[in-house]
């Protein structure tokens, strides 16, 4: 007995998710079925493997040409292959898919034949397939149909095949399109339950939860939801490390104040692909990790690829980190030109003061306020007569803040308030408190980290 090895067929079963046809037939011309010539048929029996090859190559052509003749040819060969391999689930599924495509191309709706073929499949074969009613969905999706109508059709399809994860995921995407984010979450959750290993479904669930977060006034206050979102997105990134998943993982870690993890993911995404989002997230994560040299590289990348205006204040922060105050003041001056905003005006004034650079303050009351909160900030920081100034306590803004985002800003501008009153110690203390707040990606939060060491 000599030693040889046999491979155990013992593996994780990954059900093949159906991918719906994405292209409609480019031509209305539908060829008649072209079966193999008689001569061919009269030859010796073709082995099942050969039938399969021919069927697969016909279906490969269908993916590009959508010719009915090729679909019928594929069906012919699959049926022959099935004669020898009736129990082979993969051939059964492939045969059904070909019938499915035929109904889609030829009729645009599911025929009785397709339904019968589907009904004859085992539970396992069905699990990886779209039901016949999915033909109706695809047909509708290729016509001008509202998302709401598509959702209604898809819900019927799901009723026919509720264990198909792909259908639930598609439903989630459609709900996302109609901005019914809670239902997007619910559908994505079911897709993930049905196929826990699929990174696409993991990401869709995390992303849908993030949509809920974005509905809130201050999304930094939604810690539990943020944790749930990042749990799914980071798992998706681990399974399928593409830029989108990794970058979003970094972003969520940043929102949660987990800066080392955020930096790691953001840099990885940035290394994979440099686009508007990956660059800005890498820039922010670098600033939060006080890796200013890397932040500068990212900022320069952004300027080269996108524009300069968006990162002027980031450049100012980087300059301050290098004690280049005049340069920082210049960046802030350019920034205020493009951004007529009360809060930006206040930060510009402070940097200029610290830089001892010339700056003509804008009248805060000539800048449009965008919210009652900005009104409060303006009120707190307006140039007061001495006696009026006394009327406000230093915790005026802190008391006005209604959420974590406003509180982050409140602490920062209170620090400025103290600095203006020549109380550097209190200013520094308030900058430190700013960094303990939740709005980690706010400019004020980032400035607090830089200025704390410069006062």
């Amino acid at each position: 007995m000599k030693t040889r090895f046999i491979i155990l067929v013992l593996s994780i079963f990954l059900s093949a998710c159906d991918s719906a046809p994405t292209k409609h037939a480019s031509s209305k011309k539908i060829n008649q079925i072209q079966l193999p010539a008689k001569k061919y048929l009269s030859q010796a029996k073709i082995p099942a493997k050969e039938h399969l090859k021919l069927a697969e190559s016909a279906m490969a052509r269908v993916n590009t040409n959508y010719q009915l003749a090729d679909v019928n040819l594929a069906i012919f060969h699959y049926e022959n292959a099935l004669e020898e391999h009736q129990d082979n689930i993969f051939i059964q599924q492939a045969h059904y898919r070909a019938l499915f495509v035929r109904d889609y191309v030829e009729h645009g709706f599911a025929t009785k034949d397709l339904q019968q073929s589907y009904d004859e499949l085992s539970w396992l074969a069905k699990k990886g397939l779209n039901p016949p009613s999915y033909v109706n969905f695809i047909t509708a999706s290729k016509k001008p149909t509202s998302l709401t109508a598509l959702i209604s059709i898809l819900l019927d399809v799901i009723s026919d095949q509720p264990n198909n994860a792909n259908l639930w995921n598609t439903l989630s995407e459609l709900y996302e399109g109609t901005e019914t984010y809670w239902l997007a979450v619910a559908a994505a959750k079911r897709a993930h339950q049905l196929d826990t290993e699929n990174p696409e479904y993991m990401y869709q669930l995390g992303d849908s939860i993030n949509d809920i977060i974005q509905l809130q006034e201050c999304n930094f206050d939604e810690k539990d939801y943020a944790i749930s979102a990042v749990k799914h997105i980071s798992k998706a990134a681990a399974k399928n490390p593409i830029q989108l998943y990794i970058d979003n993982t970094g972003l969520h870690y940043m929102n949660l104040g987990l800066f080392p993890l955020a930096y790691q993911s953001s840099k990885k995404a940035y290394d994979l692909e440099k686009n508007e989002w990956t660059i800005i997230h890498y820039l922010e994560a670098s600033l939060l990790m006080r890796r200013y040299d890397e932040a500068e590289i990212a900022a320069n990348d952004y300027i080269a690829k996108i524009n300069k205006e968006d990162v002027l204040e980031d450049l100012a922060m980087i300059s301050v980190s290098k004690n280049q105050w005049q340069e920082a003041a210049n960046y802030m001056k350019k920034n205020i030109h493009s951004s007529n905003n009360i809060l930006v005006e206040l930060r510009t004034r402070w940097i200029h003061s610290l830089a001892q650079a010339d700056y003509t303050d804008k009248d805060l009351y000539l800048i449009d306020s965008k919210s009652p909160w900005e009104d409060s900030v303006r009120e707190f920081m307006r140039p007061l007569k001495e006696e009026e100034r006394l009327a406000y306590e230093s915790d005026y803004l802190l008391e006005k803040a209604a959420n974590g985002c406003q509180l982050t800003e409140a602490y920062f501008y209170t620090a400025y308030w103290h600095w203006k009153k020549n109380n550097g110690t209190e200013a520094k203390r308030f900058l430190q408190i700013t960094q303990k707040q939740t709005a980690t990606r706010f400019t004020e939060y980032m400035w607090a980290g830089i200025l704390e060491n410069k006062l």
Binding site: T3, I6, L8, H85, P162, W182
Partner: protein, 734 residues
Amino acid sequence: MKFICHTLLLLLFSIPVFATERMAPSLVEQAKISSSSAGAETLFSVHHSILDSRGHWSKTSYYSLKINDINAARDYGRISIPYNNYYSNAKLEFANVFSKDGELKPVSEDAIQVRSVNTTQDFYEDRNEIIFSLPQVEPGSIIEFQITKTTKVKAIDTVLTSSISPYWFQPLVAKDGFRADAVKNFSYQLTVPPTIEMHTKVYGNLPDKPKLEKTDSQYSHTWKWENVPELTIEASMPPSYEFIPSITSSTDTQWEKIDTWTWNKIEPKLVKTSAIDGVISSLNIAGNATDQDKIKAVFAYLQTNIRYVFAHLGRGGYEPHFPDEIINDKYGDCKDQTVLALALFKELGIDAYPLLVETLRQGKSDTSLVELIFDHMMVWIPATKTHEEIWMDTTGDYGLFPGASAYIQGQPAMIVNGKGGKLIQVNMDSQENLAHLDLNYTVNEDLNIIVDVEMLYKGAIEQNMRNWWQHDNNRDTTLKQTFTMIFEDKGQYKLSSEVLNAENIYEPFKIVGQFKFDALKNQDTPINLGVSVIQLIRVFGINSGLQIPKTRKNRYVTALPIKTKLTAKFEAPKNYRSALIQSAENFSRPYFEVQQKIESKGNIFFVEINTHQPPLNLSSVEYENYYNDMLKLGDTGAWVVNMQLDSDKLATNNITQLKNTEGENTLIYQVSLAKKHINSGDFQKALPVALRAVEIDNKNGEAWFVLGMAQGFSGSIEESQQAFENAKKLGFVP
């Protein structure tokens, strides 16, 4: 093979009446002959056998070989001439080498030895060999030697035989076979007295008519052949007479004399003695015992009490001992054990006979001329109303009753009865050579896949396996390797194994074991389990190590039909569903067949794979097809069964359990039921249930979330938004 009883065949009987002369041209002359054969070539193979009126032989043979390459030089470095010194004398007349430089050198006296041959354990016999080594054996040289063997004692008086082939069979230096180089000139002269009639048969497609010379005192027949091609000796060849040219002569064509000769050696020893009575008494045979009970009792007695020892120094090897000697010594060879068994059977009233057998080791002879072809003896018991015929052999190591080797199937044999005997071919109809692998797949509560294995054997395969276990010093390692042919060992399982019935002569040898695979990650992990014919072929080593077709020179012949069988049971655990996802194909060829099928019963699948290889006799073209087809066996595919947690069934069970344990009007039941409806796509059905859940506890975030789902998927989007907001406010996190 320890059980095989050694005999002496083709003995050359004569007395040294006269000094023999050189029978071939001088080496100087032979050196002028061109030799184009690769390796080596026999330039002259010359033989003269002289029978005198007493029936004694003098047989002289001369061989000269041209050495053409280094491998041949290595192989011919030592020459051995075996003989039995009880029956014959042997003399090396001369041996020389003619070097490539033209120098003639004789063998040195200090490089010739006559010595006893070391045979296997427990063999004591009169086998000698003359061995010698010639100097300067190298490419370009010619070696020659001449030997004479003469009869000392005749083994059998009544039959005279002689056989010769042109070849000198030289063992390869690696001791893994023989070489038989091409022969340029062959000559054989048979000289007999006119009073003795010899029948002669020539095998092979060579001239069979001899030149006849007659005088008053002797008749001489001479055959001369030229350019006899090289013979390649391979495994699984046809009987030698079908492919080795040779000339055989015998005084007889009928086998009665062999029956008489054998019977006369045995029958007088089958007498009742007190020792025989003692043995019978010790068998404790019940009064109502059947014949079969008695036969089994005798078999068991011999298996456990009489060790196999061939003790024949000074006895010639054909004369069995008396039963009392055997009982007393507690050992005996095949003849001895047969005699003792027959003596016991005689006392027990069982009709039984000695059976002479030519074993496969000896080859398979043509029986048209009578020769002493048999090298083994056992017991043949004719069929009666209560049992089939029994082929009993007690010489094996704890062989399974009745002990006959499956490899004697189809071999020449003779039932000896003192009445002329009966020449037969062994036909043990009931012998099936089967290896059966049984796999039982289950999943335990800790999510380990468990595969219980049984390997069961019958016939020749059972004997091989039992023999392997009894004689392999490294058997535990080999056993483990056997299991790794079922599932490759990547460290993913723990294996336990055990051998059963290795010493039990009534139950087939059996191997059992269990694979315990690492636990699955979780219940949701689907499982694919498979079996294929390749597992079967590899675990039993069927057709492993087949010779590659391009090197095959001879017909490929196997004597035994071989069957293998794989049965597998796939049993899904509780709450799992199983489905067949891939099936395998049948495979049918004239020389190998695979039949496969699957059946299911509920959630259990049963696979059965059967292979059958009939006895083969293939031409080189057929062998190539056979070889290539064996390589394609993997293409027959595998049976793959998928098992997955049946989430619908599990959910239904859980819901029912909740209803029973928690009650219908509870939050947990209503929420679970609503979720089940949603998961099943029954959104409308879910709605009232979810509403009921919120009614029961409107401070429960999950209840509101489920209500939001039921509402939203039913089309009530605005209501659902409110429900979701409520869920969030109550701390629900999706």
